[in-house]
Amino acid sequence: MSEDKHLLKLLCQGDNYALRRLYEKYRTDLYTVALSLIHDVHTAEDCLQDVFVRLTERAAELRIRRNLKGYLVSSVANRARDRFRKEIKPLDKTDGLGCSVCATDPAKVLIDREESARLFNTLKRLPFAQREVFVLHVQGGMKFKDIAELQNVSTKTVLSRYRYAIDKLRAFLDREDTK
């Protein structure tokens, strides 16, 4: 039995350890996806909380077809999309967010942080549908087929949105490079 299935089973039995282990395992990924989608700290925190509360509420009746991470990322995406439609004002500053950058060499963190911060800020400039595809695929690890199901569109549409997102990000970043 995979770890996630085992932990879900324990969670159904009311095991606190299972809840904490699942939270520990997925908190960073889910928070990153939420912030990349919605660019609002408060909303991202709420999304994270909602997802885990919901998971705890529905652990017994969950039938996860593919993997738990995909399910959780989809949950975050749904909540982020709902919030976005309520026109949450985007965050303009990322300095205080404590964005960390994973790198095997700590020296590289300083360099990569600047570039990653630029990319993060540039994500805001994408239309939400394109941003969602890019974030869920690249950061959330979701397949295009699953994203299409989530967005209720065809896989071809998702692929187009992804291509547009890449092209726009490239154009924005290259324009800033030449300033």
């Binding site: 928070y31 925190e45 964005c99 994973c102 590289k108």
Partner: protein, 498 residues
Amino acid sequence: MKSEHQIKQLAKQIRFEPDEMVDERVLACAEAVLDKSSNIQTSVPHRHHLIWRTIMKNSMTKLATAAVIVVAMMMVTHHFTGSFDGSNIALGQVIADVNGIIENMKRMPWVVKTYREPQGVTLEEWFCFERDYWIAKTPAGAVVSYNYAEGRRYDYNPDANSITIDSLHKENDSYSSFSSPRAILESLYELVTDKSVKPQTKISKKTGRYKGKDVEILKIAFSTNKQNYRTNLFIDTKRKILLREVSNITDSSGKMVQSYEEEFNYPDNGPADIFALGVPRTANVIDKTDVTLAKKTDDPKLVALNIQLPKPMFVGTPQDTKTPHLERPSGKPRPPFLAPVGTTNVALGRRVTSSDGEPIIGQLEMITDGDKEAADGSYVELGPFAQHVTIDLEAEYNIYAIVIWHYHKQARVYFDVVVQVADDPDFTTNVRTLFNNDFDNTIGIGVGESLHYSETSEGKLIDAKGIKARYVRLYSNGNTSNDLNHYIEVEVYGKPVH
């Protein structure tokens, strides 16, 4: 032009960690649901979930760093030919030999590591064991230094030309594990005592020359559960210290994760502070160790300030090319300003005094009456040349933003705008300058680095960063239309100091 792969790599490297307060809140809510559904009484929430934070440190990163030291140490104390399986060397012997390499490193006054990537990215780091001090400079000109002896960190941001001084919290600061000279050596012990990591190290060597010195070139290969490391080390055979490292790291599918080169030098002297690495002394200094900020436990959330704007009195972007040091208008609305929940305009209705005791038009109380319209009867006109107004907040506040409306019926520029806060009405105690565009020190307070700006209905927002004060003083010195000084409204957004 960035490739799709590069963009994806940058995106994958973005990682946000929720802070401890968020972790506690989420787990508390979820556990409450869990307890409710299972009818189990919970104990008082404990900090168990904080323990895993310290365990979650990336041992792979330490591995990469410590591997260099392990092999360098092996070179010092072991003579071998061909390749060998690292597991053949007794751990006890390795631990016993650690002291040798540590003593070698400690004897060096400075270690300078220059990091390079194939695409030309470079980072320079300086380590000083004697002072327990680390300082680094990025290609973009950012400088960071960690002074473990002082317990402070210094961050220079070249875009804002500002230096932020903050406390160094080893348990929370992600750099502390890697950048402290002591920590690098400590990681060696962890590597060799961590039995969950079993590098099957293959090492071979040959002799060579590097920058005029005899070296032994060690080829090291080892794998962990997730990554494969291939490293070439160039070791000075005479001094038994490392001169160069060339490394490739691939994932389990063979895809390149990272490729870099590091050069090591050992000068007798190093940068005494961040200014020695080119940080200008005119940079603005933000000393967070000296400022009382709203505590996270009290105000964990930031919200956009609700700043009500008056009617704009002119349309279009102000154009004034004659005023020197003039800020270019963005042409867009000002973005939301975030402040802790509960921040309000604490200047509303407060007493105002002025260097001009008898304004030409209006009364000083209009400056804090809440009326921001640029209509006749809504503004105060003070005499010519340098004048100031002082607002008594009647208590100490943590001030997050100050918004100023001079006369904004036209796109004027007011000169020598200086904003200060202090603990006393005469501005003799604990005076701090928040904004100063008096670039030629006309007023005599000091040379200002900020730019002049055109007046608009948005007002001028000054970020006060939570500074604690009771009195706010604003200076000006005429404007582009005349020598007189005008105020329509000043708002001070803050929260009471607990």
